[in-house]
Amino acid sequence: MSGIFEYNGGSIVGMKGKNCIAMACDRRFGQQMSTITTNYQKVFKIQDNILLALSGLNSDIHTFYALMEKEINLYNLKENRKMKPTTFANLVASSLYERRFGPFFVTPIVAGLENGKPILATYDSIGCKSDLDDFQVGGTGGNYIYGACEAFFKPDMSPEELEEVIGQSLVSGCDRDSLSGWGGVVYVLTEQKLTVKILKTKQT
């Protein structure tokens, strides 16, 4: 299978702002050159203050998300408390490494707010965690989104600015990448609320 990470296509991006974080993803679910659906979810709300974005093989996106849901639910029941974003970030890393020799073909991004402080972490498919100060991309359109992010990003943006910047970066990246697009979704998380916005990309 040449390029198992490219088989379904799709792009994700995560960004830090001032006391807020944002995640965005495209909506395409394809099988190589065919598009199957244009409403596939790739960003998941794990907890009120944690978002998980996944790019890669869609089957593994779904399975890995289900595994993380199970872990956090059991944790909430056993420990009788919420999971901290940094703890969840470590859980993702150890869960990916557990499958070192038969990995999940996903590249996750975790974003959250811990006591108001923004948390952003990214991983390769076998759990190498990197904590980031600004933004990170994933998926087939990643490199195109990088360019737009580098140009527009500045630290400590407000939620409104962040939404604008991450949205524009995602859209310009996905418009270039043939395997990503067919709409975008932007999530902005602050202490008070989570806003979800659907964006239009080039319809191809």
């Binding site: 056993k78 420990e79 940094t86 703890t87 470590n90 859980l91 150890s94």
Partner: protein, 231 residues
């Protein structure tokens, strides 16, 4: 390893093996724990059967991780096995979450191992009650874990030979506003009450954790100072 359970119900609905295990605990050297506002103290008798024994080689308070330690009353080797299992549990948790484990979580997971010994084929229950003392994000904790696998959180408690008298003594002396220094003194006084013979810095062991989340087993010199203060 046999296929059949050794611990089975009596007609009265009791698990006699667990009752007998508790008897073994009741014969053991006394251990006392007190939870203060800002820390927890563990104090345990370390009476040696012979003066020829190297006192320093006997360690009755085991560190489970930086912020949690345990002591026991009952069979020493059983405690050794359980404290080793507890240390592994802590590390397993650490590898998965990279977070300081909560005392309640550790107690619950260790209790699972203790309970299994009351229900699995071919093995007997553990002959120890364990006192777990720790300080986590939620604050100070003192937990007692029994051979049945039941665990209880305490403000102050005692296990072993002098448990009954010590607890009666503690009920009068304990107050919720206690600071850790008061708790250490009270614990030593409580142990002294029922102590056979002279209490010395080498025939007891004292462990303390404060709000810095670091459990320390006090060296004999510090124990000597505390004992002198009691006079």
């Amino acid at each position: 390893m046999t296929d059949f359970a050794l611990t089975t119900f009596s007609s009265k609905g009791k698990l006699l093996q667990i009752e007998y295990a508790l008897n073994a605990v009741a014969k053991g050297d006394t251990a006392i724990g007190i939870k203060a506002k800002n820390g927890v103290v563990l104090v345990v008798e370390k009476k040696q059967s012979s003066i020829l024994i190297e006192e320093s080689s006997v360690q009755k308070i085991a560190l489970l991780t930086d912020n949690v330690a345990a002591t026991y009353a009952g069979l020493g080797p059983d405690f050794r096995v359980l404290s080793q299992q507890a240390r592994k549990l802590v590390k397993k948790y650490d590898l998965k979450y990279q977070e300081e484990i909560f005392v309640q979580t550790l107690s619950r997971e260790l209790a699972e191992d203790v309970q299994i010994a009351t229900q699995r084929g071919g093995i007997r229950p553990f002959g120890v009650s364990i006192l777990i003392a720790g300080y986590d994000e939620e604050g100070p904790h003192l937990v007692q874990l029994d051979p049945s696998g039941a665990y209880y959180s305490w403000k102050a408690t005692a296990i072993g030979k002098q448990a009954k008298n010590a607890k009666a003594f503690l009920e009068k002396r304990y107050n919720a506003d206690m600071e850790i220094e008061d708790a250490i003194n009270t614990a030593l006084l409580t142990l002294k009450e029922g102590f056979e013979g002279q209490i010395t810095p080498t025939n007891i062991e004292v462990g303390v954790i404060r709000d810095d989340h670091v459990f320390r087993i006090l060296p004999a010199s510090q124990v000597k100072d505390y004992l002198e203060e009691l006079e």
